[in-house]
């Protein structure tokens, strides 16, 4: 990119030249003010999100009679009001982990397929379709998951229970439809596939040609070229793509709300229906919530906010590091 440093534009010509146009300076000031103002406004929005959420959360927590972190219950309307995020944190993390475990390898595979395996005529349209799929609204994934995926997964659940029940995770101790954290994980995996794929693909396409040729000239097979040149170069890119996907999975609301049959239980039997996530719980409990209930939900939203901030921040950090790293070798 030739113009990544637009900052070194030479200073405006001397005043003598711009004298005839008195609007110049004033216009510049107004325009700079406007554009800087919007930048500042953006910061103000971010700050107020943190402040407002924290304040409401504080209101809620000061009336909570249970421990916010460890209580396995959500009853802000009760007497005394008791609510805690343990179940939500557990469900959010577990379903996201399942989603990552499924989605990341497959996404890397698809990205490699597009960048290195697919016939050239197929690669470009395929990349295009993947990008389009990233735009499918989550509610559509949600009703598809609930009405199509859930019935389909019942057979798989039985099978997993039968042959892998000994792993504890896949032991299904409760009967019921496959409205489980495992199904949620699979659906989230399908949803984050496009984003993880397209970011990884970008990185794979950036691998310098000469690195790949180095491996080829040594008599490497295509897979060995990928192992020697593409994956080492793309590793941090894959990590940050996964983190971006994780950020999405953590905060996904509608797809989880439609598929999961929620309960306030913590169980590592991931095939059992039940459990909950932050976003799903907010969607499910909001309608009937009293004022304290709303604040309690805001408090759980604050935790979700912090969680996604951490994950996304880490992803950005890795990307930034990679830029420096690859720049040094370019």
């Amino acid at each position: 990119m030739a113009s990544t440093t637009p900052l070194d534009i030479p200073p405006a010509p001397p005043e003598t030249r711009s004298r005839p146009r008195s609007t110049g300076r004033a216009g510049d000031k107004v325009f700079l003010g406007l554009s800087r103002g919007s930048g500042i406004l953006l910061l103000v929005i971010m700050a107020s999100i943190a402040v407002f959420l924290s304040y409401r959360a504080y209101l809620a927590l000061s009336e909570n009679e249970g421990n916010f972190l460890t209580t396995f219950d959500w009853n802000p309307a009760g007497d005394p009001p008791v609510f805690g995020i343990a179940v939500l944190l557990f469900g959010t993390v577990i379903s996201s982990i399942i989603a990552m475990v499924i989605a990341v390898p497959i996404a890397v595979g698809i990205a490699l397929f597009i960048s290195h395996y697919a016939p050239r005529k197929l690669a470009a349209p395929l990349a295009y379709v993947i990008d389009l799929l990233a735009a499918v609204p989550s509610i559509v994934y949600g009703i598809w998951g609930a009405l199509v995926l859930v019935p389909y997964l019942e057979g798989l659940n039985l099978w997993l229970d039968q042959f892998f029940g000994w792993t504890y995770f896949f032991e299904k101790t409760e009967i019921g439809a496959a409205r489980s954290l495992f199904t949620v994980g699979i659906l989230l995996a399908i949803m984050i596939l496009p984003i993880v794929t397209s970011v990884s693909r970008e990185v794979f396409l950036q691998v310098p040609k000469m690195n790949e040729e180095a491996a080829l000239a040594l008599g490497a097979t295509r897979w060995e070229v990928i192992r020697l040149s593409v994956l080492p170069f793309g590793r941090s890119g894959i990590i940050s793509a996964s983190m971006l996907g994780l950020g999405r999975a953590l905060g996904e609301t509608m797809a989880v709300a439609t598929v999961l049959s929620p309960s306030f239980l913590v169980s590592l039997h991931v095939l059992n229906p039940g459990g909950g996530t932050f976003a799903q719980n907010i969607a499910a409990k909001f309608g009937e919530a009293n004022p304290l209930g709303r604040d309690a939900l805001i408090a759980s939203g604050l935790v979700l906010f912090i969680l996604t901030l951490l994950v996304n921040g880490a992803a950005r950090l890795i990307i930034a590091r990679r830029k420096e790293y690859s720049g040094a070798n370019a």
């Binding site: 534009i9 216009g27 107004v30 971010m46 389009l132 009405l147 399908i190 097979t221 509608m254």
Partner: protein, 362 residues
């Protein structure tokens, strides 16, 4: 191979290498059609095993066949060619299987939406609201939700597009120092905010100020979601404008703000439009903030500033929750409308990007 000609290093080399002896460039290779053969064998076996075991899930059939495919091609290649080739073929197969595994659900999603959605989708559906329609009844429509979506997304765009544009201009044309760095960082952070959190933020303001739910509140939450997307994409486009253009204009004595308005922005306008349209497509499908802030309604309310409204994605959720055959039909039909809306926006946006691309000088 004549040992008389080998060099000193050659003599020291261990002979473990499984490669064919030097001088033999060709080796036994499988025919080009062999992957198809493996696939046929694997699918036949997979279906056979599944039928014999009495499994019903097609997903299982597919998984078994996929695993068999990997195993068969690995073993055959190891025997006929060698292990390196087998590994290479394994990797190729895995990559293909990944692709197929991903295609199946995504194709199913689109297919189901189109087939189920077209059952109810007609002129009546698009022009009627849900006023007076009970859940199990096979009537009603999506008109009120369409109006809601268009108005909420429209308001959000009117706020977010100029704000985002100006912020991007600031970052690219003026930005230096800690303020620009902070803005850049927080734009990234903002991109990752879950939509429900944006909704909760506006909700907490409403709770403090005692504001009632309305389309406007939903639009404000959508603005928060749209803003970073617009900033990011506009920034990328502005960076593509060659510096020479700016310098040429400045050297003519044209003030900077006019240079930006008359030279930089027009050059990048195609890409900026694309970015804004993609951002619109993204927020049009958001459900969670609408649920918290607009509340949903069965009636036509064309005033976004007062009273509850509906929106397409929220309508889908509502109809799904009703849980009747008729309401599922309505949900799918609305999903088809929403997907069509989003896809058309995407296609047009990418069309503009392609059509305008050469002018950015890259």
């Amino acid at each position: 191979m004549t040992h008389a000609t080998t060099t000193d290093i050659q003599d020291d080399r261990p002979r473990i290498a499984p490669e064919p002896a030097k001088g033999g460039l060709s080796s036994r290779t499988l025919p080009r059609w062999s992957p198809i053969g493996f696939a046929v064998v694997a699918i036949a076996l997979g279906v056979g095993i599944s039928l014999a075991a009495g499994w019903h899930s097609r997903i299982q059939w597919g998984l078994i066949s996929a695993l068999l495919f990997l195993a068969v091609s690995y073993v055959v290649t190891t025997v006929v060619e060698n292990q390196r080739q087998a590994k290479d073929r394994l990797a190729t197969s895995i990559v293909w299987v990944c692709f197929l595994i991903a295609v199946v659900p995504l194709a199913s999603l689109l297919w189901t939406t189109i087939v189920r959605g077209s059952e109810r989708l007609d002129g009546y559906f698009l022009t009627h609201s849900m006023a007076g329609v009970l859940g199990p009844e096979h009537s009603g429509g999506v008109y009120h939700a369409l109006i809601g979506t268009l108005e909420q997304v429209g308001i959000a765009t009117v706020i977010a597009a100029p704000l985002g544009l100006l912020t991007a201009v600031y970052l690219v044309e003026y930005g230096k120092g800690s303020l620009a760095k902070a803005v850049t960082f927080f734009v990234d952070v903002m991109t990752g905010i879950p939509s429900i959190v944006a909704g909760l933020f506006i909700l907490s303001i409403m709770l403090m100020a005692g504001i009632e739910p309305s389309g406007l509140m939903g639009a404000l939450a959508l603005t928060i979601l749209m803003l970073p997307v617009v900033v990011r994409s506009t920034e990328e486009m502005l960076k593509l404008v060659p510096n020479e253009l700016r310098e040429a204009s400045l050297a003519l004595g044209i003030p900077k703000w006019r240079t930006i308005l008359k030279v930089v922005l027009p050059t990048a306008i195609g890409g900026i439009t694309t970015g804004v349209m993609l951002a619109i497509a993204r927020i049009a499908g958001e459900t969670a903030p609408i649920m918290l802030l607009v509340f949903g309604s069965q009636l036509i309310n064309s005033n976004p500033f007062e009273g509850a409204q509906s929106s397409l994605p929220f309508y889908i959720y509502e109809q799904y929750k009703v849980g009747e055959v008729a309401s599922y039909d309505r949900a799918w039909a609305a999903a088809l409308v929403l997907i069509a809306f989003v896809m058309i926006l995407n296609l047009v946006a990418r069309g503009i990007a392609r059509w305008k691309a050469p002018k950015t000088g890259r």
